[in-house]
Amino acid sequence: MTNLLEANGLHAAYGETKVLHGINFAVRQGGVTALLGANGAGKTTTLRAICGMVRTQGTITLAGKRIDGMATEDIVRLGVAQVPEGRGTFMELTVEENMRLGAYTRPAREATQDFEHMFEYFPRLKERYKQQAGTLSGGEQQMLAIVRALLLRPKLLLLDEPSFGLAPLIVQEIFRILARIKQDEGVSILLVEQNASIALEFAEDAYVLETGRIVMSGSSADIVKDEGIRRSYLGY
């Protein structure tokens, strides 16, 4: 299988503070890759680096094309959607407007047809369609963030801690839907999670990040088996 996304020698920094120290990783075409690690390991920064939201060195290629150094808007238009940390909801706007923004780069009519398709995954958003997005519950906002990203019709979906701050039942529901989406939409996924057990169940490949360096990579099955890694980095 070929790689959709490849990063080589990727460094990233906020001003003087270096966060990533030359990491290599890849996301396979049609696959799900998980990026695991403790708080402050650089997981979110890695996603920001892919979308050109922090200063980086090294190369990032999407389907063979260099995207490092490009503006966020242009990377997004190449088919990279991100469900950002904190969900990135447009609080003041309605659910409908949030969805229209998700489809901003596509012809309006085509996108409106997609709305119905999205409601099949997340029927609750249909009930909330005209409501101000800031009034949604955390789980609903997470769903809205995923829908906003999917409406871009991305090749690559970046998910930043979709389980964050949600009750276990809601987390299960969201991952069940994500599994359906992965099957139906043919989108490749890079998943950042602190909840390692749920991430390793969902992903085929995984990388473990520690203070800006990759300390282990391999298939999810291998990483689950490795007791040492599990104890020291994944905490379960």
Partner: protein
């Protein structure tokens, strides 16, 4: 007595419309940048001179105004791209400095190009009283123009893709970039739109207050009072606030403080709102649940 009051209220609404459109221009830039563009008034004055130049060159009134509006839009976009862009991450004082600098520069340019003498400005509307004598033809006509502008702006922001993208860019630039909105250009468009609205407001107010380089100084103060009264981050609130200030100003000038102290009313409103209810009457309430 009653007829007099009604007359004052009606013409208050007419001037209030001008304040409302300038207040809207202020709010549009405030929402996107969290700064008040103090140069908004001077930019509008300069646009009004451009309109007058085209009229004097023999162009029909509406063509002259439309051309000036388009030019103002382009200049507004250019100012954001060239002057404000580099200040995107600068401290507040740097931006305030640039706004004040812009105010002085545009004001001086108006005087330099068009001299400081007070000029008459034509009105395209009939020169006789209307609505049973309560409003002059110009007051009625300019109110209509203002309402058309305000409604168009509202429809643009509510019902077009670009309008939605501009609102999104103002509320949440990071998420906007992540859905592919070109945030920098949205800010520039906001400046262009504000400048275009200012050009129309200037042309509507100039026949009443006459045109000179400081024409908009007082208007900007009233508009700022209106924007604060309605809520500086709420476009609808600012518009309503603008109309209210127009009425308060007229009634106050006629029955309370006299015309000389009218501008003081604007300052009283500004200080009162800032001390008692800084968000204004319709300040934005953001709901959030965690």
């Amino acid at each position: 007595m009653f007829a007099g009051v009604l007359h004052q209220i009606m013409s208050g609404i007419a001037t209030g419309g001008i304040y409302a459109s300038v207040a809207l221009a202020l709010v549009m830039i405030y929402q996107a940048t969290h700064h008040v563009n103090f140069a908004q008034g001077e930019m509008a004055t300069f646009s009004t001179y451009i309109t007058l130049t085209f009229i004097n060159a023999g162009f029909p009134y509406w063509i002259a105004l439309a051309t000036a509006v388009v030019l103002s839009f382009i200049v507004g976009v250019a100012i954001e791209r060239v002057l404000m862009r580099p200040l995107a991450n600068a401290p507040v004082l740097a931006s305030v400095g640039v706004f004040i600098g812009l105010l002085l520069i545009v004001n001086s340019l108006s005087g330099w190009f068009f001299d400081y003498t007070i000029k008459q400005f034509p009105t395209p509307f009939p020169d006789h009283p209307m609505l049973g004598g309560y409003l002059s033809g110009h007051e009625l006509g300019s109110t209509a123009v203002t309402l058309i502008v305000l409604i168009s702006v509202y429809l643009f922001f509510r019902h077009t893709r670009l309008g939605l993208a501009m609102r999104a860019a103002a509320f949440n630039p990071v998420s906007s970039r992540l859905v592919g909105v070109r945030v920098g250009w949205m800010l520039a468009l906001g400046w262009g739109l504000a400048a275009a609205i200012g050009a129309i407001a200037g042309a509507m107010v100039a026949p009443i207050v006459f045109l000179d380089p400081n024409m908009m100084a007082g208007i900007l103060l009233y508009a700022f009072a209106g924007a604060l009264l309605g809520g500086i981050d709420n476009p609808l609130g600012a518009v309503i606030g603008g109309f209210m200030v127009g009425v308060i100003e007229n009634l106050g000038g006629a029955y309370l403080v006299g015309t000389e102290l009218k501008l003081t009313l604007a300052l009283v409103i500004i200080v009162t709102v800032l001390t008692i209810k800084p968000t204004g009457l319709m300040g934005r309430k953001v709901f959030s649940r965690v």
